[in-house]
Amino acid sequence: MYTDKVIEHFRNPRNYGKMENPDGFGRVGNPTCGDVMELYIKVEKDNEGNEIIKDVSFLTYGCAAAIATSSVLTGMIKGKELKGALKVKDTDIAKELGGLPPVKMHCSLLATKALKAAVDDYRNH
C-alpha cells in the first residue's frame, strides 16, 4: 500500500527530535484521531533580507504515512526561503513520496498545517 519512498522515510526519518529554543513551533492533530505533529523551525535572514529556514525538526505521533510526510516535508523546506516553503502543498508532499493511499492523504495535509502553524508562531513573536 505504501511506496518505497514512504517506507524509506518511515524507517529512517530525517530531522526528527525536539528543538531547543525554536523560532517557530506548531502543533496540530489530535491523539484521539491517531495523529499529532509538532514542527520546530529556526529562521534566519540572508544578506538580501530573505527569511531562510535554517533548521527544522519534527515529532510525530501517528501512522507510517504521518511520520513519512513529516520527514519528507522537513527535507523539502530545510534551507529554503520561508515564503517558498509556505507554498508547499499537501499534494506536493504526496507527490514527493511517490503517492499516498487515499485514506492517508490527510497526513500530508497535517504536515502542511503544522508548517503553517510553526510559521504563524514565528511571525507572532
Partner: protein, 392 residues
C-alpha cells in the same frame, strides 16, 4: 529472522492438511451431488469429514453445515434466525465486542426493522450473566455471544450465558471462530456455533455452522438444496476435507499445544510489562493461551506493526489506521480504553511454529521499536529502554 505471530488473523495450512486435500483437486474431483462414481467418491469424503468434525464437537453429523467461513456462518445464523422468527419477535441480543461479522450483521438486521441490544463488557472483556438476564425480553429471538474474543482473548462464560438464554427459551449462538480447536468447549447450552478453517491450520474459504436439531433457521444461500437444504452451492470438497483434517490435528494437539503456548504467552506478558506506560488488555485468567494484547502509550499501532515488520515480525493492532473504517478497535474501546490508548495497541497471537527463541526476539524488538517510536513522538516523556531476556 521471520516470525509470524498473527495466528488470530490466519494460520499457515498444515502440510498434513495439504496432503489430505491434494487428491480432491485433480483425481477425486467429482461433484458430491453426482450419481456416478466420481460423485459418490466426493460425497463419501464429504460425509466422512462431516462425521469427523461432528465427533470433535460431540454433535450429530446432520447438525453440521459446511460454509465458506466464519463470516458466512455468523451471517447465516443471525439472518437465518431473524427471517425465520419474523413473526415471533424482532429482538436480538449480542455483545459490544463481537467480531464485525456479527456486529455488522446485527446492524444490517436493525436496518431491516429488528431491534438489537449490544451487551457491554467489563474492563477485561467479560459479558455479565446478570446483564444478559436483564436484557432478555418476550420478543427476544436470539442471544449471540462469542466463545472467545479475537482481539483480547477473553473467554466468555458461554455455558452460563447459554443456560440463561435457555431458561427464557431463547436460542443461543456462539461465534467460536477463535476458540474452536484451541480450548475445550462445553456446548450443552449452545444451539448454534460458528467456526472457521483458516484459524486452525486449515484452508481459507471453509467454515461451519452447527445448527442443532430442532432449531429453526432459514438458509442464507438458496439453491440446489445442498447441506440438508441449509446451504446451497457445490460443496468445496477439497476445502472441507482439509478443514476436517485440521480439526483432527487440532483435537490431537489441543491440550499440549495450549499448555506450550500459555508458557510463551506468560513470558511475553511478563516481558512486555517491563515497558513503561504499557499494560495488558484483556484478562489474565480465562484468556486464550495464544493471545497477547498490549497498549503502549504515546505511539500509534500501524507504525509499530510496520517497524516490527521490518524486523521480520508479523503482528496486528487495534489502531484506526489499520482498519477499513478508520476507527480504533471497538473491542478496546468497549473495555474502557480511550481512542488514544486503543491506537497504541499491539496484538501478538501465537501458533504452532512459535518457540522460545522467537519470543525472545520479539520481546527484544518490541522494546526497541517502542523506544524508537516514542523518541519520534510528541506525546512521549522520557522512557528508559529495557532489554532483559525471558529465556536463556
Amino acid at each position: 529472522m521471520k516470525i509470524y505471530m498473527d495466528h488470530a488473523a490466519t494460520t499457515p495450512v498444515d502440510p498434513k492438511v495439504i496432503d489430505a486435500m491434494k487428491p480432491f483437486f485433480s483425481e477425486k474431483y467429482g461433484n458430491a451431488s453426482s450419481l456416478h462414481q466420481w460423485g459418490r467418491e466426493a460425497k463419501e469424503a464429504l460425509e466422512e469429514s462431516r462425521a469427523k468434525v461432528a465427533k470433535f464437537l460431540g454433535v450429530k453429523p446432520s447438525e453440521i453445515v459446511f460454509t465458506s467461513g466464519g463470516t458466512e456462518s455468523n451471517n447465516m445464523v443471525l439472518k437465518g434466525t431473524a427471517f425465520y422468527a419474523l413473526k415471533k419477535g424482532k429482538h436480538i441480543i449480542t455483545t459490544a465486542i463481537e467480531h464485525p461479522s456479527v456486529i455488522s450483521t446485527a446492524n444490517w438486521l436493525k436496518s431491516q426493522g429488528f431491534d438489537v441490544t449490544f451487551l457491554p463488557v467489563d474492563k477485561e472483556g467479560f459479558v455479565s450473566a446478570e446483564e444478559l438476564e436483564n436484557s432478555i425480553r418476550d420478543d427476544t429471538i436470539l442471544v449471540s455471544v462469542m466463545a472467545a474474543n479475537n482481539e483480547i482473548g477473553t473467554i466468555e462464560p458461554i455455558e452460563e450465558l447459554g443456560k440463561i438464554a435457555h431458561e427464557h427459551d431463547v436460542p443461543f449462538h456462539t461465534d467460536a471462530v477463535q476458540a474452536f480447536g484451541k480450548i475445550p468447549l462445553n456446548l450443552e447450552n449452545v444451539d448454534f456455533l460458528s467456526a472457521s478453517s483458516h484459524k486452525i491450520y486449515g484452508p481459507k474459504g471453509v467454515g461451519l455452522a452447527l445448527l442443532r436439531e430442532g432449531t429453526k433457521v432459514e438458509a442464507l444461500l438458496n439453491g440446489g438444496g445442498h447441506e440438508g437444504k441449509m446451504r446451497s452451492g457445490t460443496e468445496n470438497v477439497a476445502g472441507i476435507v482439509g478443514f476436517a483434517k485440521a480439526v483432527e490435528l487440532a483435537e490431537k494437539d489441543m491440550q499440549k499445544e495450549g499448555e506450550r503456548q500459555a508458557k510463551l504467552q506468560a513470558c511475553l506478558i511478563e516481558g512486555l510489562s517491563e515497558i513503561t506506560d504499557s499494560w495488558l488488555n484483556g484478562p489474565r485468567q480465562n484468556r486464550l493461551p495464544n493471545n497477547i494484547n498490549f497498549s503502549f502509550k504515546y505511539i500509534e499501532g500501524e507504525s509499530l506493526i510496520l517497524r516490527l515488520d521490518e524486523k521480520g515480525i508479523a503482528a496486528s493492532t487495534g489502531s484506526a489506521c489499520s482498519s477499513h473504517e478508520l476507527r480504533p478497535s471497538h473491542v478496546l474501546t468497549a473495555i474502557g480504553l480511550t481512542p488514544e490508548e486503543a491506537h497504541g495497541s499491539l496484538r501478538l497471537t501465537l501458533g504452532k511454529q512459535n518457540d522460545e527463541k522467537q519470543v525472545d526476539y520479539v520481546l527484544e524488538n518490541v522494546k526497541k521499536v517502542v523506544s524508537e517510536l516514542r523518541e519520534l513522538s510528541p506525546l512521549a516523556k522520557e522512557v528508559k529502554p529495557i532489554d532483559d531476556k525471558c529465556f536463556g
